[in-house]
Symmetry: none
Subunit: 202 residues, 4 copies
DNA sequence: GATGAATGAGCGTTCATTCAT
DNA sequence: AATGAATGAACGCTCATTCAT
């Protein structure tokens, strides 16, 4: 039941992350405990500390994974890879972002909602991973601006505004704050269209 | 029967709420504990239970306070009371909402971010207070539509989308997820302008 | 909801006892709390202390009630009142005792099982009430002895033995320690018959 | 995986059981608390949970110990091991049972009086240990029946009745409900004799 | 006769973490 | 590389009781 062949070496680290992720997804962030993770991964509670300094450290690793996953989802999408019409790319980025957020609410929570108290200890170098995603949007905006498809505004600012618009939708959805009488699809669709409309050159 | 709140000018009850709010702001929701509140307010842990049935009850009282405060801020604003140009009213509502969110991050968190798990026990009658605010936006939209100033869309849907756009900005700001290189004022301004532009009849 | 006409005077005392008894029967002894009793009787928690010095005091009053009730059941039974054949009386006393114990398990518990810790403070004068019941058995035995129907043994001793035999049955039944495969009626019947057979002159 | 008990010669585990037993005796079951046990055994409250999953688990371990001890006392008695005259064996079993009950009131209470509420979580496999003891009585009865020494009644039923007769005596004695004027030895002796007389073929 | 305010003590339990091995 | 033993701190909550009014 415990260690089998695969657990050798620092595979344990990966196992811990996998289990944590699962627990995060299934039970939520604050129900995720070191003990439960340890016992679920088949090792003693102490062993986790061989791979993660403390709970925050593990948490930060999870966040990093989340940003990697998101980056993967965005950057590997065919439309994005094709790198054709900046507008189509932008739309894809938006849709993928929303999809990611709604399909991985707990991941999304630690990535974008987690209380700043936990972020103060977030290692600086890891912010880069978080920024990669917004940089994709920004980059796409700039391409569109060069082709006169997108309004010539400060791309950093606009990218952040786009992100926060999408975030608003995901966040309210995930925390059940959207009026039950509102159709979820229409809601998402409206948000995305409003984002695109906001930047498009008329 | 005590513990009902409204009745009685109980200072302790108010103190508890004040301290809780502060603790919420400074330490985040899940670090807010009954015991800490009690000791911080200078009473025994038991005493809190004279005024609040349990932690959720206290939490709900805080949320209610937040919605009252927000409603006050929105409904009492001169421009809103004047009830003139729907567009001006809408802009005011947006600005006030953002201001409220950024000036009261502690309230804002429990009002709009708190995990649904805690909302399950939220007394139904209090939902009305939460809805009052979005209804103001909706109502304004409808007035604008009648005057052909605002696009004729489903007002409920649009009101929710507006709210989530504003929410996205507030939320990311408050949780420190906005690029430090982005000017906060420009950021907020852009969001509000984009909201207004989105609904305006061209 | 609270006080109506009947509560005047020390009727409250009776109400408290009634409610306690109900709570005792429905929820068991250690779930019976002063607060719950108070709120259930419609008075403030403090009011109980006007009528009972403390929880033990209330408990002792309940025990006393129990013994009164038992005495009532035994002494008022037609067969007992008729005071005819001592054997018939003895059988009746046994049956009534068992019935009482099985129909009022929680009462029975505080009367006959409650941890001695609680009995140390039991006021001496109240022991008399407890003794009245066993004295009835004893008295019946002596009557039977005079008529040469019952073996001439120390009646006090035998009465106690009879009581403990019955008690054993009740106690094991009530605490679920009797083999499920044993028919409850046959079990009780056997016990009672064995008690009677044990004292009968052959 | 720890906390399984049998494995490991853990002193602490034994200490916990010893202290619990003592506390049970001195203060009664519902005054027995995990924290008091811990501090009495000289460890932190947390440590108990390294050896027992929870309070019920500890309780069940105590009960099990009790049944083991009782079984030991009964099955290892010379007369019982000799397995000669069923009547002598039966008498021995009765005497040993009573002796055990009176010498180990703390064990006895949880084994035979503890409120069923706590038995609901009692692991099924442990019921077997509880049954072993009554089965010895039953087995002896059957042997006696084969030799025409004991009345041919349903052995299961009779065994249960015998047990409850003995139990009644032990229980009332241990809870101080026996008239102080009754000689304890005569009392016990009478009970045992009445049990034996009840089953003997005349 | 009755209450509201308040408390100290206690409960079972979970948690992240440390340390010696 | 991994563990077992142990802990301090905390948590939400309930309880019997007191006291001033």
């Amino acid at each position: 039941m415990k260690r089998d062949g695969e657990d050798k070496g620092s595979n344990l680290r990966k196992n811990i992350l996998t289990v944590s992720r699962k627990m995060l997804l299934e039970e939520g962030f604050d129900r995720m405990s070191m003990r439960k993770i340890a016992s679920s991964v088949g090792f003693s509670a102490t062993s986790i500390y061989l791979y993660f300094k403390n709970k925050d450290d593990l948490l930060h690793a999870l966040i990093e994974e989340g940003f990697d996953l998101l980056y993967e989802a965005l950057s590997q999408h065919p439309v994005v890879k094709a790198n054709g019409d900046p507008f189509a790319v932008l739309e894809t980025l938006c849709r993928e972002f929303v999809r990611f957020g709604m399909e991985n609410p707990e991941y999304y929570e630690i990535m974008f909602q987690l209380h700043p108290k936990h972020m103060q200890r977030y290692p600086v170098e890891k912010y880069r991973k978080a920024r990669r995603n917004i940089d994709m949007i920004r980059h796409t905006l700039e391409q569109g601006q060069q082709q006169n498809l997108i309004k010539p505004h400060d791309s950093r600012l606009v990218a952040n505004v786009i992100l926060s618009t999408l975030h608003g939708g995901i966040s309210l959805m995930n925390s059940g704050r959207i009026d039950v009488k509102v159709d979820k699809n229409a809601y998402v669709e409206t948000i995305i269209r409003s984002v695109l409309a906001g930047v498009r050159v008329n």
